[in-house]
Amino acid sequence: MKMTSLAVMLALAAVSLAPVARSEAPAASNGKTETKSDKQQKDQRSHQDQDDGERIFEANCSRCHNAPEGFSPRISGTIVRHMRMRASLSAHDEQELLRFFNP
């Protein structure tokens, strides 16, 4: 008896989870292109950093909680320092995130 009602609940849950939207493709999750010449890289540098920071933000910052809706740039360094250990950020990730938060 118990198990049947549990099974019904599970089935309900499965149905309700079915239409999970997959419509919006990930923006830039396939990583960076490393084939550019030095000069091109320099030209595109700030643009790429932005993308990289955004990619790192998307891959890491909404895992545990909703990403913050926005905050003062004055605490961006504090937030990154606070989250680096939790989100297992590399030194590079930290730099890119700071750049992303302070365009």
């Binding site: 849950a13 939207a21 990930p26 909680h65 605490i75």
Partner: protein, 319 residues
């Protein structure tokens, strides 16, 4: 680039919760303030406290109790990108609920999982030291670790148990998949071992999350699996439909014997939690859920509703 990005911050959640369990309704307003204060380039002090009132029904009206205390208070010293040394009173990194999901503004349900007390040594925090960091941080995967020990403490604000433990996890950012293992051992009273495992999967490009944990102690074990999602199909996450967040959690606990040394139910229990959260603008969330709990000591219905506001601001205007 802008200067002064290291202003100390104040953050946390304020909530008002109501819970109806088997027909009795209790109310709980609470606030969990947090401060994070960088000092110099490598040091940081962080602390969270909880202040709450709880109103529980009695035969003639309501009983009311009050609690205020530190959840943790720690100093973090960043040795290098792979190692941070933590000292003080810190949340025990056992599985994921305690140190990641327990803040009110993060949890999708009002109450924690039934097995939340396994492996966290009754106080949830340790008093001692911890080494923590990212062992490997690669473009396509990262491995992090935490190893800690705690002394015994009877201090009113910072009770702790003599114990040691650790956790390690592997994260694949492209797949958004994380798997981890936790272990700790209590070194006073019964020398009990606790084992934990967690799997989190949050496929990229969706607002779908699947989180699960298994924990085993000497006297009880159990698991939970939680799924939640927000649809982007009706005008994005910030449309009125996209702000709905259905949540489902399935939990089971099993007693291995009848020794009451943990907070896990005294008889084998199964529980299904169905929630609908609504993400309002301005960092406010409404949490509602219905749970059905089955056990040999009786089946109950639990209804919960609440509202949570998350705040985040600098302590003072920049230089």
């Amino acid at each position: 680039m802008a200067r002064a990005q290291d202003t100390p911050l104040i953050s946390g959640g304020v909530a008002f919760f109501s819970n109806t369990n088997g027909g009795n309704t209790s109310y709980m307003p609470l606030i969990e303030p947090l401060i994070a204060m960088p000092i110099g380039q490598r040091f940081m002090i962080e602390s969270r406290a909880a202040i709450l009132e709880s109103f529980n029904p009695t035969s003639n009206g309501y009983d009311h109790s009050h609690f205020a205390g530190f959840t943790y208070l720690q100093g973090d010293f960043i040795v290098n990108p792979h190692l941070t040394i933590v000292g003080g009173s810190f949340l025990l990194p056992f599985n994921t609920y305690n140190d990641r999901l327990s803040p009110v503004w993060i949890n999708n349900f009002q109450d924690g999982p039934l097995i939340a007390s396994l492996g966290i040594l009754s106080s949830g925090s340790g008093l001692g030291g911890m080494a923590r960091g990212s062992a490997v941080s690669h473009h396509s995967y990262s491995i992090d670790y935490a190893g800690w020990f705690s002394a015994r403490s009877g201090n009113e604000q910072f009770t702790a148990t003599r114990a040691f433990g650790g956790r390690t996890s592997l994260y694949l950012p492209d797949q958004r998949l994380e798997v981890g293992l936790s272990y700790d051992r209590q070194l006073q009273g019964t020398h009990e071992n606790f084992y934990g495992a967690h799997v989190w999967w949050e496929p990229a490009g969706t607002a779908f999350r699947l989180r699960s944990e298994y924990a085993r102690g000497h006297h009880a074990q159990g698991y939970w699996v939680e799924a939640d999602y927000r649809t982007q199909a009706f005008g994005g996450l910030n449309s009125w439909v996209g702000r709905f967040e259905p949540v489902f959690r399935l939990q089971q606990t099993f007693r291995r014997d009848t020794v009451v040394s943990d907070g896990v139910p005294l008889v084998d229990t199964q529980r299904a939690d169905f929630g609908i959260d609504y993400n309002l603008p301005h960092n406010t969330r409404i949490l509602t859920s219905y749970s059905r709990q089955f056990s040999s000591s009786g089946n109950t219905n639990i209804w919960e509703t609440g509202i949570v506001y998350r705040f985040l601001f600098p302590t003072w205007k920049g230089r």
